[in-house]
Symmetry: C2
Amino acid sequence: MSFDTSQVTADLAARGLRLTRQRRAVLDAIAAAPSSLSALQVYDAARSRCPELGLTTVYRTLEVLTELGALRRVHGSDHCESFVPASAAHGHTVVCSACGRVTEFTACDMRGIADAAAQETGYCITDHFLQLGGLCAACRKAAS
Amino acid sequence: MSFDTSQVTADLAARGLRLTRQRRAVLDAIAAAPSSLSALQVYDAARSRCPELGLTTVYRTLEVLTELGALRRVHGSDHCESFVPASAAHGHTVVCSACGRVTEFTACDMRGIADAAAQETGYCITDHFLQLGGLCAACRKAAS
DNA sequence: TCTTTAGTGAAAGTGGTTTTCAGTTTCAGA
DNA sequence: TCTGAAACTGAAAACCACTTTCACTAAAGA
């Protein structure tokens, strides 16, 4: 997975922000990772591309890019705040329980479930957070 | 919401554990709360029932009870680790965006979505984490 | 060039969570 | 009723992810 740099640059510019070398390193590190990365893991990975990068900048960059929609937060069972590239405007993630790989999917017709939940609880459902777990194709192959 | 104490006691006993006064205080505090509580909030709430309760014990108890299935972890947008009673073996939560109230619902037929995601990603889907957001009946009434 | 603002990293600070440790409580068996 | 083992406890210390502060640099526009 890689980023459409010009899109990110434009999104940043629309807010008066810039795509610096450091931000680029953070984006690249996350794009190159096979699974989701925590802030500290991003720091480690991005420093091979930009050694003078500071941890402060990583945290700031992750926040900016998430707000921009270029990244998505993933809740893991071990560490509950890690990041993956967000390619679609609205998408969800599947996490492989064996290798940790994170894949995005867009098919999420929640209407049936939201309706049922609304009826059961009396709530007016407005949003949802969904994350699936399972085995990726490679791990399934390796297991059999 | 209240706990079936004998059930919790039995579940603990099955592992050679006991339902102590402190653990009881933690359970009661969570059962009495209208919304999900973080560890620190549990500590505050439970100390009114058991003043000598220590924070260490709260953390330990939350872990034990979650593992036991008596509590469920909820991921919030602000603090990503808080706890609610788990009444059903498998259930999900709806969080009110206005007042923070957490309600459980059991209607979750994920087959359609899991199938679609499997087809899109090549994963074999085995589990899911779903959390809905919206307005509870009371807040909807108050808003209109 | 000059000015302004975004952006940066090191260091210090913060605060939630875990670990350690020296006890206390509980329970089964003698 | 004792006794020993194991569960259980809270205070204090340690840990560590994350945030704040601050002096500075880089870049864009006038």
